[in-house]
Symmetry: C2
Subunit: 562 residues, 2 copies
C-alpha cells in the first residue's frame, strides 16, 4: 500500500465526518415540507463492505509482475477495497450503485506511480499489451468519468495519481507554478500559500479533487470571475502517451494552430495521463470580502448580475440564489443566537413593509479581492447596480458563513441516502438572454418528472460564474425514492439535462461529460462537432486503451495486441 | 465578377494609397542611418501584370460547370488576375515572390459563394471530386497560409468569402453578435457601431482582414488586454464540412470534453470553411484614452508593464517600444509645427538634466476605456506604477497620433521593396520572466544573421498584449537585400524564429503558422503535441482536401477520387 488517502468507499469525504441537523433547528421542518421526508424516523446506515460481492481481478499474474517491475510491488494493488474505491466517482448514481452492491466491472488493479517516469512505464506497458488505463485523481467526479466499461474484456488499470502532489516550482515574475497533477486542493493551496501565492481555484469538490482532475474535466471554481476557469488557469501541461510526453509549454497566448492545450483540457483521460500542469497563480490579495445582498426576486437578481458583468467592476464571485435555495440557506443555519436572529427578524419586517414578498427573497453573494481601495471601488459600483435593481446590501455576515460551509454540501447526499432520499446537482451555462428561460424550463421539466413518478420533489438553483456573455445556472434537486431509485433518478436527471439543451444552455458548465452526459453531446456541439472529436480520439488513441467510452459513449470493439 | 474588392495584386492596401516620406523630414536620414539606404536615389516601381507568366487553370470544364451550377456562372472565376490575387497573402516573402513573377502554382479557379448554402455545395462537390479547397478572407495573411502546394496535382479552388459580410443579429442582453465570416474589419465595425456596439478587435491588418480569417489564424487585436484575443471573443461558429455543418453554439463557457471550438480556431482552413462566427461585442465605451509615457530604458518599461498586469488596473492597451522603435516613431512623424516641437525639445532637455540617456528612451502607450471615473481610477493606478519604474507621463498627444496612423505601417514594406530593401515583422509571446531574455536573444540572432550576410540590418521591437503570466514581443526588421532577396530574408527570419523558441517563447503570438512557421511546430508544442494535431487532421479530413500542408507542413500524397 501507499500513503495515498481516499474518501469513504461508500460516500463523500473522510471517515468520521458527516452532515448533522440536530444543531440546525429549521432543517427538519424544511425537509419535511420540501420532499415529505420525516427526519425523526430512524435512519438506515451506510453499507457494510462485507456485504459486497467484488469480482476477482482478471489481471494476469505476468501483467502484475510487469507493473511491479515499473513501480515496485507495493505500488500495484489488487485488493478488493482498493479496487472498489477506484470503480466509481461520487455522483449520486455512483453512491446508489455502491450501496446496492452493483459492481459489474471493477478495475483489475490499482497502480500508484511515484513519479512521471513510472507513469510513462505504465502507459508504455499498457499500450504494448492492450491494457486499459483509467487515470484517477481524487475520485470526486460526478459524471461517470471513472468507471470501467461493463463489457470491457481487457485488463483495466486505475492509475491513481495521488503520490504526485508537489508544487515543483514557482516563477514569481510570471505568476506561474509547476504542480504535479495528483495534488489535491488543500495540499497545493497550502504549499502555494506558504510562499504568498494562491491558485484561486475553489470548486465544490476542492477538499478532495486534484489539479489533474480539474484539467481533465474542465473544472471551474467559485471565484472563477476573477481567476478564470481551469481552462484559463492551466497554461501548460505534460501528458504521458505511449510514445512519449506531449509537452505544452506555458504561454500567455499563442497562435500555433488548433489548440492542443484545449484538446487535453477536458479529455477525461482519453488522450493519455496528465502528470504535471503549469498554472497561473496570484499573490494572495491584501483584502478579501464576500458581501451579501437581498433581491426581491430571483429575476431581479439575474438582471443585477448581468449588469455587474457589463460594468467596470470585476468581482471575484457573483452568485444569486432563487427563493427556494435562499430558503434552504436559512434552513441549514445553526440556531441564531441572540442579536443576529433579532436583527434578521427586524430586517424582514422592514422588507415586508416595503412590499417585498419574503417567499420570493433571493440571497446574493458578491466577492471582492484586491487592495483595500480596489475592494472599496468595486463595492461602490456593485452597490449602485444592486440598488438600481431593487436590491439591498445586508453586510458581510452571511458571506463569511457561506465561505465557511461552502465545501460541506456534498455530505448531505449521504445523509439523505441513509433516509431513502436522493439529492443531486446539475449545472449548465448559457447566454444572459437565455438564463431566465433556462431556469423556467428546467424547473418545469423537473416538476414534470416528479409528477410522472408520482413523487413530491424539490429543485432549487443559483447563478454563479459570470462571464461577459452569460453565466452558469446551478440546480440542486432532491426527492424520496421508491422501489427503483436509479431509474427514478434517471427520469429526473434526464428531464433536467434535456431542458438545458432545449432552452439554449450547454449540457454542463464544469462537471464534464463522462458517461452521464454523453447522450447530449450531439445536441450540444452538433453531430459534425462530435465527428471531429471522435476522429481526434480514434486517431490519437488507435488502440482505444485510454479511458474508452467516456465523453462520446463511443466504445469500439476491444482490440488486444498479442 | 462580383462586388468583392481586393487589395493590390502586388502589394498592401488599396490602389492609389502608398507610404510617402516627403512630409516626414526625419525619415530619410533615419533610414540612411538604420540600413544604409539612400532615399534620394530613384526608386523602382511595382511590377506590371503583363510581365507575369500565369499558369493556365487546370480545372476541368466540367468542374467549372458543376461549380457554376452551385453558385452561378458569374461567381466562378478563372481569369489570371483573380487567380493571382488569390495565390498568396501579403507576407514579405509573398510580395517578393509576386514581384519576381514566381507563380509555380496558382488556384485553378476562384469561387465567390453568396451564402452558406453555396459554401456547403462547393465543399460537398470538392469532397466528392477530390478537389482542394482553400478558404480566402481578406488575403492579409503573412504566414503562407493561403498558397496552394506547389506539387498539388488536383484542381485547387480558392473560396473567397467576401460576399458573406453581414452582421446577422445582435443579442443585446448577452453582448453576442452573429456575423458572417467574410466581413472585413471596417465593415463589421461600422455595422456594430451603428447600433452602439464594438467588437474591440483591431489587429494591424484590420482594414482588410476578415472575421473568418481572424478565427482561422488566432488573431489578436491591439486592445486585446480588454477585449481578449479572437479565441476569447469567438464564442460560437459554423464550419462547413463535406457531410454537414459543425455548429458550436455560443456559450460563455462549457465542460463538453476537448474543445472543438478551440480546434476550429487556428485551423487555417484545414477542417472546413468557417461561414459564421458569434462574437462577444461590447457597448462602445463612454470614454477612451490612449496616454503616452516615457521610460528611461526598455527594460524599465517591461518591468512596468509586468507590474500593471499584476495590478488592480485593467487597461485596454499596454505597449512599450524599445529605444530603436521609439526612434523610428519620432522619425515617421510629420514635421513638428511650432509649439509641439518646442515642447518636446524642452521635455528632452529636462530628461537629460535628470540623467536620462535619450538614446535609451522607451515610448509607451497605455489605453483606458470605460466610464470617465473608471478611466480616472485606472490612470491613477498606472501612473503610480509608471513613477515607481522611473517613467513619466507625457499626455495624450502621442497616443492620438498612434491611434490615427496605427494601420498605415504595412504600406512601408512596398515603399522599401521599390528601393531594394526588405522589411518584415515577427512576433512571439512568453512568460514575463523570459521576455527580457527573448528580446536580447532575438536582437543578437538578427544581428548575427545580418553579419553572416555581410549586411547592415535593423531590428526594433515593442511589447504589447499583456496577460497575467506574460506578453507579446513584436519585432520589426529591415535590411537592403542583395542578389537573392528571398534566401537572404530566410536567413534573418529563421534566426529570429529559432531565437524565439530557444529563449522560451512561442513561434507566434497572433500571426498563425501557415507554411512559414511550420518548421518550428515540433519545437514549440513537442513532437507528441504535433502527433495529436496531425492525428486530428488526418482523421477529420481523410481526403486531405482542406488547405493541405498548412500548419504542420505535412502534405500527404494527393488522393484523387475517381
Amino acid at each position: 500500500m501507499t500513503d495515498v488517502a481516499h474518501m469513504k468507499w461508500w460516500g463523500w469525504g473522510v471517515e468520521g465526518v458527516a452532515f448533522h441537523h440536530e444543531d440546525k433547528p429549521a432543517f427538519a421542518p424544511f425537509v419535511k415540507k420540501a420532499v415529505g421526508l420525516d427526519l425523526s424516523q430512524p435512519a438506515g446506515s451506510p453499507p457494510s463492505f462485507d456485504d459486497l460481492t467484488v469480482p476477482a481481478s482478471t489481471a494476469p499474474a505476468e501483467l502484475i509482475e510487469a507493473l511491479a517491475g515499473v513501480v515496485g510491488a507495493n505500488r500495484v494493488v489488487t485488493d478488493d477495497l482498493d479496487r472498489v474505491v477506484h470503480t466509481y466517482g461520487k455522483s449520486i448514481r455512483d453512491l446508489m450503485r455502491i450501496r446496492a452492491g452493483l459492481l459489474p466491472r471493477v478495475p483489475d488493479a490499482v497502480v500508484y506511480p511515484a513519479d512521471e517516469a513510472q507513469v510513462q512505464g505504465i502507459v508504455a506497458l499498457a499500450a504494448e499489451r492492450g491494457v486499459v488505463v483509467i487515470p484517477f485523481g481524487g475520485g470526486t467526479n460526478i459524471s461517470g468519468s471513472l468507471e470501467p466499461e461493463v463489457e470491457e474484456t481487457r485488463p483495466v488499470l486505475s492509475v491513481d495519481m495521488g503520490a504526485l502532489r508537489r508544487v515543483l516550482s514557482i516563477d514569481e515574475d510570471s505568476g506561474l507554478a509547476r504542480i504535479e497533477a495528483g495534488a489535491q486542493g488543500p495540499d497545493l493551496e497550502a504549499q502555494l500559500n506558504a510562499k504568498g501565492w494562491t491558485l484561486g481555484h475553489f470548486p465544490d469538490s476542492f477538499t478532495h479533487s486534484t489539479l489533474g482532475g480539474w484539467v481533465a474535466t474542465r473544472s471551474s471554481g467559485m471565484q472563477s470571475d476573477k481567476y478564470g476557469d481551469i481552462a484559463d488557469i492551466a497554461r501548460g501541461m505534460r501528458l504521458v502517451r505511449p510514445d512519449g510526453i506531449a509537452e505544452i509549454r506555458a504561454m500567455p497566448s499563442a497562435s500555433t494552430g488548433p489548440s492542443v492545450r484545449e484538446m487535453i483540457i477536458g479529455s477525461e483521460g482519453r488522450l493519455g495521463v496528465i502528470t504535471e500542469v503549469t498554472v497561473q497563480v496570484h499573490r494572495r490579495p491584501k483584502r478579501r470580502e464576500v458581501q451579501a445582498y437581498f433581491f426581491p426576486t430571483f429575476s431581479a437578481g439575474l438582471k443585477a448580475m448581468q449588469a455587474i458583468a457589463e460594468s467596470d467592476a470585476s468581482p471575484s464571485i457573483t452568485r444569486v440564489s432563487d427563493a427556494r435555495e435562499t430558503g434552504f440557506s436559512f434552513a441549514t443555519r445553526k440556531e441564531s443566537k441572540g442579536v443576529s436572529g433579532k436583527v434578521q427578524a427586524g430586517l424582514f419586517e422592514v422588507l415586508k413593509r416595503r412590499g417585498w414578498d419574503l417567499d420570493q427573497l433571493a440571497l446574493s453573494f458578491i466577492g471582492y479581492e484586491g487592495s483595500p481601495s480596489h475592494v472599496r471601488y468595486q463595492k461602490r459600483i456593485v452597490g449602485s447596480i444592486v440598488r438600481k435593481h431593487g436590491g439591498l446590501g445586508v453586510g458581510s455576515g452571511p458571506g463569511a458563513l457561506y465561505d465557511q460551509k461552502k465545501f460541506d454540501t456534498p455530505y448531505i447526499r449521504d445523509f439523505l441516502l441513509d433516509r431513502g432520499a436522493a439529492a443531486d446537482v446539475s449545472e449548465t451555462a448559457g447566454p444572459w438572454s437565455k438564463l431566465q428561460g433556462i431556469y423556467d424550463t428546467v424547473i418545469d421539466a423537473a416538476n414534470g418528472a416528479y409528477a410522472s413518478l408520482g413523487r413530491s420533489g424539490w429543485i432549487m438553483a443559483h447563478l454563479s460564474h459570470s462571464y461577459h456573455s452569460g453565466a452558469c445556472l446551478y440546480f440542486t434537486f432532491a426527492f424520496v425514492t421508491g422501489d427503483d431509485p436509479i431509474a427514478e433518478y434517471d427520469v429526473v436527471k434526464s428531464a433536467i439535462q434535456q431542458a438545458f439543451i432545449d432552452a439554449g444552455g450547454t449540457l454542463s458548465h464544469h462537471h464534464a461529460v463522462g458517461r452521464e452526459h454523453a447522450p447530449w453531446m450531439e445536441q450540444d456541439i452538433s453531430s459534425e462537432g462530435v465527428a471531429i472529436m471522435r476522429g481526434m480520439f480514434s486517431a490519437v488513441d488507435p488502440g482505444n486503451i485510454f479511458n474508452p467510452g467516456k465523453i462520446l459513449g463511443d466504445r469500439e470493439p476491444a482490440r488486444v495486441d498479442s
